[in-house]
Structures are given as C-alpha cells and as structure tokens.
Amino acid sequence: MNAGKKGAPAPGTALDVASPSRREMLVRAGSMAGTLGAVALGARIVWDKGGYGVERSTEARQIRDYRNAERDAEHAQLAIARAAPREAGDDSPAPTATPEQLVRRAVDAMGGMSKFVSRGDVVVVKPNIGWDRMPIHAANTNPDVVGAVIRLAFEAGAKKVVVADGSCNEPHRCFQRSGIWRTAYDLGAEVVLPQEHRFRSMRLKGDVLDEWPVFTTLVDADKVINVPVAKHHNLAKFTGAMKNWYGVLGGRRNRLHQNIDVSIADLATFMRPTLVVMDAWRVLLRNGPQGGNVDDAKDMHTIVASVDQLAVDAFGCTLIGQKSDNLPYLAMGEKRGLGTTRWSSLRVREV
C-alpha cells in the first residue's frame, strides 16, 4: 500500500501489513452484522405495505342513552309550563312567573328532578350557547332557565354539574355574552368551553355521520339534560331539542347542512338525554338561528319538559307557527323509534 509514497512505511514492516487480531476482526464483523440486523428488524417492524383502503363501518349505530327506566303513570310525559295570562286591566310589563318557577313547575309535573338525577351523579347540562348574542336576542338558551336546571340538579343531589356546548361563534364571547357562564359559575357548576383538546374522534356510525370529533365533556356523564332554546332556523325550519346536539360535534360542521335532516336524526339517535327542558321563554321567530334584532324575538314565557325529544320539538315548532309534518327530521326520528311526533297522544300536563 502506498509503497511509492514518500514517508509512508516500507511494505512488509509490521506497522503496515500486520492483520488485526482475530478478536478485533470478530468484534468488527459482529458490530457490522449486529447493526445491520437491528436496522433491518426495526424497518420490518414499522414496514408499511401501502394501500389506500378506507375502513368502512358495518356495525350498528353508537348510542349514548342516559334515560332512566320508564316512570310510573301518574306523572306527565310532556309538561308545558306557561306564565299565567294577565287578568284584564293588569298591564304591567312583567310576566306573572319567573323562568325558574316555570322550570320547577314543568319538572315537578314530570315527577321532580329526583326522578332523573340520583345522589352523587355527574350531570351534564347542555344548553344552546351557539352565538355571540345576548339573552334578549333569544339565540341562546336563557341563562335563568339554565340556572334553574342547574339548581334543580344540585337539589336532587348531583355531585357535579357541568355546563358545556360547542359554539358556532367565538366560544368565549358566546359563553360570556349569553349570560350562561356567569349564572352557571355563580351556582357552582363547572363550565367547560369547547377547547380543542376536549374533542375526540368517535365512530357515531350514523347514516351520514360516521367518524366525527365529539365533545367528550358532553358524553362523559352519568346524566345529560338537554336544555335547548326553541327558535327559527332558516334551513332546518325549526331548531329545538334534536338540533341542539350539533353542539356535540367538533370539526367542520358546515358540511352537515347538505343533509341537515339526516344529520339531526343521526345526532338525536346518538344522544338520548335523561331529560329535555326546552326554553321558550323568549322565542326567535325570524332570522334564525342567530337573529340579532330584538324585534325578531317574541316573549312566550313557556317551558317544556319531557324525555321524548321528538315530542318536545313537535310541540315546540308550533310556537313559531310550524307544523311537525314540515320537519323531515322529526319523521325520520319517529321511523327510528326515537319518540313520537304526536305529542298530544302523550300524558300532557299544562301547568
């Protein structure tokens, strides 16, 4: 090697040609083989054979059923609480009952909150906090109605009450300006905003909704109380209990509108609440679902309670002058056995 190069050792000297020892050769060969083996093994373990297959679900629908067993026949199946009409000559602008009184009356007619919430339960209250609007605009659930439900849940012995919703507008603004954040906080409920890390992908296995990010706070509960607001919706025509479950989903909800009726039915199939308390204290009649003009809403001073989401919506849509036949998602729900749209066939109690 390099025999001719000046300064290099002459060939044949011990320095140049002496072979490495057997031990060193074994170590070098062994480390080569070991490294190559480890790399090959590692590559084999994480080997991706490729392919573009998308897993299609054939399983049955996912259902989160929070309902209690059927109650005794003495209690109402649909309770409608209204502020009493004023007597002639009484023209004071204030209603004859507070929202809290109406909620209490309605839930009492249903057998009381203790029929629904047991001691030590974690109760999730799901109002509609979709929009950056104030209570007077009636685009979100009235904070007093939410407060009344929270109070009833605590009175029934709930360990923890969580208030959460996935808003459409910027959530902090929606929670603050709807008045629900303050009310819930003052009552000791935990308010959970729709933060990104609260959403987990879930297979709902509905007709149009398969894999979607789900607001885990809303489904990790012992009992779930749906507290929607009744209002006009330009595409779905009416939004109440069933459509309120849009707030469960994260991700790009804007695609749902292409098949809004089936989407609503899928969600109402997935979420079966313990109780529905619908706020119709002030009802948005036009420009739904977010309104924005005080004149778009009208005071109705009504609270509806039931376990049957369909019945609540079927009754609720009459408040804005709709007919349940015009709402395809109600018919789909009925077909799926979620409840009945013939609300008057239930044990209705007006209080």
């Binding site: 950056d132 603004r173 929670f175 300006r177 890390h197 595409l235 804007n254 695609r255 679902p289 977010q290």
Partner: protein, 662 residues
C-alpha cells in the same frame, strides 16, 4: 492618555509591571491611614498592615456591639470591614482586586432584577393580549381587555417620533413615550440595558451562546466600539425621513414591535403546537391520572399562555426566521441587534447626550486588563485610554463591577473630558441615509398597490383608517393580530405592497371578523385602527363599519351548481336583516346512478335555497367565507371593495357619501 489626568509620573501601562498602588505612589496612604472601605482589597504589599488594622477595628466594633448599640450596627460594620470579606473570599480577584463600590453592585443587581421583571411583564402583557372571556362579566358588559397590554409600545419614543412626523400628532397613549425620553435624558439609555424586553433577550443569548470565537480575546475585540455600530443611526434617520414622507415603515425594525410580532405570532403559537401534541399524546395513555393531568395542563395553558384553539399566521415563518437569525448573531457579536441595527436604541442614543448620569474614568489606574470589555453590553469603550461613548452605553454597570483597578465610576454630572456624548456618524452617510429614506416613499407608491390597483385581499381590520393614513400609522406591531379572538387578522406578506409588509389583513378562510368585537382597535397603539365601539361597528343607529363585500362563485356554490342544499353562509351571516338572502327554487337534478337496464339516469326535482348577497347590508366580516363547506377555494368570498374607510374602493353609489374622518 493617562497624562491628561495629571499623573505625569506614571508610565503608560504601568500596571502591567507594577502594582498600580505603588505605581501611583499611594501605598504609604494605605500603610498609615485608615483605608477607604471600598478600597480595602488586597492591595499589594500593604495587605498585611491593612489586615492587621482591620482586625483591630473589628475587635473595637465587637465591643461596641457588646455595649448594646444593636445588630444594625453590626451590619454596617460588615460593610466597613471589607477586608474580612476579601480575606474570606476564596476566589482570587484579578489584578489589584479592588472590589467595586457597593452602590455599583446594588445597581448591577437592580438592573438584573429590572430586566427580569420587565421581561416578565412584557410576556405577561403579551399573554394577556387575548380575549379569554370571564365568568364574572354580565351578559351586556362590553368586551374589552382589562390591562393596557400595549403599554411597552406606548412608551416607545421611536414609535412616537415616527408617527409624530407622519401624522403631525401624538396619538393618545403615545404621550407616555415622552416619559421614556425624559428618563433617557436623565440617566442615559437605561431603557436598553434595564427595560427593553428584546434587549434582555439578546443579553441573555449573548451570555448563553458565545461561540469559541466569542470568548476571551475575541470577545474583548468584539466588544470594542466598531464603526459598524453607526448603521443603526443611519437606519434611524432613514426611517424618520420615511415617516416624514408618510410611512411608518420603521416599525419593521422597532424592537418592541419585533418582540410582539415574532413572539406573539411565532414563538407562542409554535410552543402551543408542540405542547398540544405532547399533551395530546399524554391523553392517549391509558391511565386516568395521566389523562387528567394532561387535561388540566391544557386547560391551564389555554387560560394563561395561549388560547383554547391553535392559532395560525400567514407566512409567519419569515418573522420567526428573522428572530432566530438575529438571536443567533449573538454568538459572534454580543447584542448584535442592539449595537448595530436597533433604531430605538439609536433614537435614545441621540438623546442620551443630555443625560446627567454618566461615567468617569481614571485612565491612569487602568492596567488594560480588559475585564470591563469582557462584560460590556453596548460596546461603548469603557476601557481606559479611550473616550467613553455615552450614546452607545446601555448603563448596565457591568464595567464598573468588573473593573479591579478602580478606574470606572458612574456618577451624576460626571466630568465629560473623556466622554463622547453624540453619535460619531459620518455626515455624508447620514445625509445619504436621509435621502434613501426620502426616496423610499415615492418608490413604493409608484408601485401599483395603492392608488390605482386595490388588492382584493387587503381587507383591513374594522375601524382602520383610510389606507394612506393607515400606512402613516401602522407600525406592524401585530398587537391586533395577537388579540383577534378568531385568528382572523394576519401579517400581510406582499399583498399590500412592499410598504405594507406585515400590516394586518383579514384572511377569512382562517377566521372571520366577529360581529360585535372591537378588540383590535383597543390595542392599536398608533390609531391605525381607531378605538370604535360596538354601536359604531354593528351600526346601531348609524351605518355599520364595512370592511369589504362578499361575492358568490356560482360555479362552486352547492345550491347554485350542484343542486345540493347548504346555506351555512346564510346561517352565519351576523347582520339583521341578513345580508345573505335566499331564493327558493325547484331545480332539476340528474340521478347519480343509471336507470334499470342501462337506461339513462333519471331526472328529479329538488327544492333549493340559493343564496344572494345584498351589498348594501354586507359588512364584509367573512363569516360566510369561513364556514363555506367548499373547503379549498370557497364558493363565497370577501374582497375589500365597499370598505367604509375608502372613498374610492367602493361599488355602490349610495356609499359614496358618508362621514368619514380621514
């Protein structure tokens, strides 16, 4: 050098060979006289005598303490008996080892505390430049930030001067910048050494990251005053002239603006991105406590440091790249940014000539040990033998603390004989810079971005003033982009022309302008975005503030071209009555599958709502564009035309007459 201080007998660099005490002929003083406390270091041959004397004093003091004078006296004694401290100190001080004056030590530590405190305050304000809601607020309470989060920018006299030249007015809170100017005229550039968060960052990285070449002799060499430090003055003059011409482009180089922009739009979102993934992985661990801890960590971070969703900023990589580059430069030239480029530092440097507080040097005592230079921040020639550069000094007090020979002293109303107070810029270069600054404006404005060709995507925030006034005011501090709760405002790259680099534009695909939100105007320090209220923005009892107009692309819109129901845009339209209205139609659509026996696909009729925009009602918020399900290029999009602030970039005749302050 030394001769000018009247120590003619001392040879130059005497200290190299001789003990400076002996050289100066003062050793007898130490031998016989009560030593001056802060001089009782280990001063050459007299050390033993000093120690003995100190011992005697100490024992006397012990008696005094025993006599019941009190513990407080003992503390004073501790100061007086500096000898004992020196004797106990294990580490040998270099050179003559004269410890610095106590006040210098105190000032050094006060400076460090001040740097940490102001940096923490800056970061706190930056974290608070966000709306996180409040459980305590009433539903009808106006949404505003409780803290003056833009305070550092309001105190920035470079911003104040630049916008004063461009708008001939000092906007609201910018009056505070006079206070900082006053502080500089009292005690020099303490802002740079004690307050500036960006300077603190460079100070820290200069300490953390010196390269092999950045230590020892090379560091000393790097810390000597160099002519390249004049660059910042030339930049300053150019920016001020550009300001006079009507462009606040100097904000690109303002250190506070850079700090807000690069940390707020780059570092914080990037940290969130990393944390979200790390904590997301922790949430996948099948252990309840781990999941709960990760959950709580995410909650806490979202409520304090960032927000509950990930923010993204348009082309922000370049902003971060420049930050990394300028921090990296500290490896070779400590505080490269502060010494060479910072126009705010230059501005304060110009005014520091009036400072009453400054340095005196006893050149005769200097041994050329260069310890002062090792620690110098401003490269302001603290060493003996040359004049101190007051305009470059950050007043960090490191040199006086490092000096072992009692050469450097900071005092009020110092002798200025060995001080250069003003920048040593070259007049011709300064004039050339001024010329360059003056040329800048016409050069950018004859590009077509402003007067003749409106870029459709330059949608300015609500309350922004007319584009020319806007460019006079916008310093690209990115406060508006940081505070925007919907991540709607972004730093423009070249959409708004070269002059509009990093000015705010709305990118509705990322986020829309929340109808009732006015936070961007609240944090704007210069009035480029005016402080409007909800009534003005939403148009309660007056026309609303429009930032653009929405348009439909019928070829991409589902109800228009695919006969599929949608109208999410209409649902999100925030005005009342809605600017988006729908037309009910029955349209024919072909089946996707062929009929039986290969017959052509059947046709059926579907009922659709087709959306339209009413341009007189549309405010251009971009909610429709944000929610349009046609994901890549939306079927409804907003462009800047019709914006309230412009008298020319409009469509409708009726909008031509309105009352707009310009």
């Amino acid at each position: 050098m030394a001769a000018e201080h009247g120590h003619g007998v001392v040879p130059e660099h005497a200290g190299v060979r001789l003990d400076p005490g002996i050289a100066a002929g003062v050793s007898e003083v130490h031998a016989d006289v009560e030593p001056i406390p802060w001089k009782t270091g280990r001063v050459g041959v007299v050390e033993a005598i000093d120690l003995a004397g100190a011992g005697a004093r100490a024992s006397k003091d012990t008696v005094a303490v025993a006599a019941g004078v009190g513990v407080g006296v003992a503390a004073e004694v501790g100061v007086a008996a500096g000898v004992e401290v020196a004797a106990r100190r294990k580490k040998k001080l270099p050179g003559s080892g004269i410890p610095p004056r106590r006040i210098a030590v105190i000032l050094k530590w006060a400076r460090r505390a001040s740097q940490v405190g102001f940096f923490a305050l800056f970061m706190y304000f930056l974290f608070q430049t966000a709306f996180r809601g409040s459980f305590a607020a009433r539903a009808d309470a106006a949404v505003r930030l409780p803290l003056p989060v833009e305070a550092f920018l309001l105190a920035d006299p470079f911003v104040g001067a630049m916008t004063l030249l461009s708008t001939h007015a000092v906007y609201r809170g910018l009056l505070w910048s006079v206070g900082l100017l006053g502080l500089t005229m009292l005690v020099g550039r303490v802002f740079c050494g004690w307050i500036c968060p960006f300077g603190t960052l460079h100070h820290f990285f200069g300490w953390l990251l010196p390269s092999r070449r950045g230590r020892g002799a090379s560091r000393v060499e790097a810390n000597k005053t160099h002519t390249y430090q004049r660059a910042k003055y030339y930049l300053l003059y150019a920016f001020l002239l550009a300001g006079m011409g009507g462009s606040a482009i100097g904000g690109l180089f303002d250190p506070i603006c850079i700090a807000v922009r690069s940390i707020g739009l780059g570092v914080i979102p990037a940290a969130q991105y990393v944390a979200h993934r790390a904590l997301g992985a922790a949430q996948d661990v099948h252990s309840r406590p781990v999941q709960a801890a990760a959950d709580h960590a995410q909650d806490f971070l979202a409520q304090t440091v960032w927000q509950s969703k990930q923010f993204y900023f348009h082309e922000t990589w370049f902003i971060v790249f420049l930050l990394v580059a300028v921090l990296f430069a500290n490896r070779f030239i400590p505080r490269f940014w502060c010494r060479v480029l910072c126009p705010l530092g230059a501005f304060l440097g110009v005014f520091s000539r009036f400072a009453l507080f400054g340095m005196t040097k006893d050149h005769a005592k200097c041994t050329d040990c260069n310890l002062c230079l090792v620690h110098c921040q401003g490269a302001d020639s603290p060493q003996g033998g040359v004049k101190w550069r007051q305009d470059e000094c950050h007043m960090c007090m490191n040199c006086e603390n490092a000096c072992p020979e009692d050469v450097i002293k900071f005092t009020f109303l110092p002798n200025l004989r060995s001080t250069i107070v003003a920048p040593d810029t070259v007049r011709r270069t300064a004039l050339a810079s001024v010329g360059a600054g003056a040329m800048f404006l016409p050069a950018t404005r004859i590009a077509d971005s402003l007067d003749v060709n409106y870029h459709p995507r330059v949608i300015r925030p609500p309350g922004a003033v007319e584009e020319r006034s806007f460019l006079e005011r916008c310093i690209r501090c990115a406060e508006c982009m940081k505070v925007c709760p919907n991540n709607a405002l972004h730093p423009a790259f070249f959409e708004a022309g070269v002059e509009g680099l990093w000015t705010p534009i709305l990118i509705a695909r990322v986020g829309y302008c929340e109808f009732s939100c006015v936070l961007c105007g609240q944090v704007c320090p210069t009035g480029a975005i005016q402080k409007i209220d909800e009534k003005e923005k939403m148009g309660i009892g007056q026309p609303p503030i429009k930032i653009g107009t929405a348009f439909y692309d019928h070829g991409r819109c589902l109800p228009w071209s695919m006969q599929t129901p949608c109208i999410v845009c209409e649902e999100f339209c925030p005005t009342s009555p809605k600017a988006i209205w729908v037309e009910e139609v029955d349209a024919t659509v072909r089946d996707s599958k062929p009929g039986a026996d290969g017959a052509p696909p059947a046709y059926k009729t579907v009922h659709l709502q087709r959306p339209h925009v009413d341009p007189s009602l549309c405010v251009g918020c971009g909610a429709c564009e944000k929610v349009c399900p046609v994901q890549d290029q939306p079927a409804v999009y907003v462009t800047s035309v019709g914006e309230t602030r412009s008298k020319t970039n409009i469509i409708l005749l009726e909008n031509t007459s309105y009352n707009q302050k310009t």
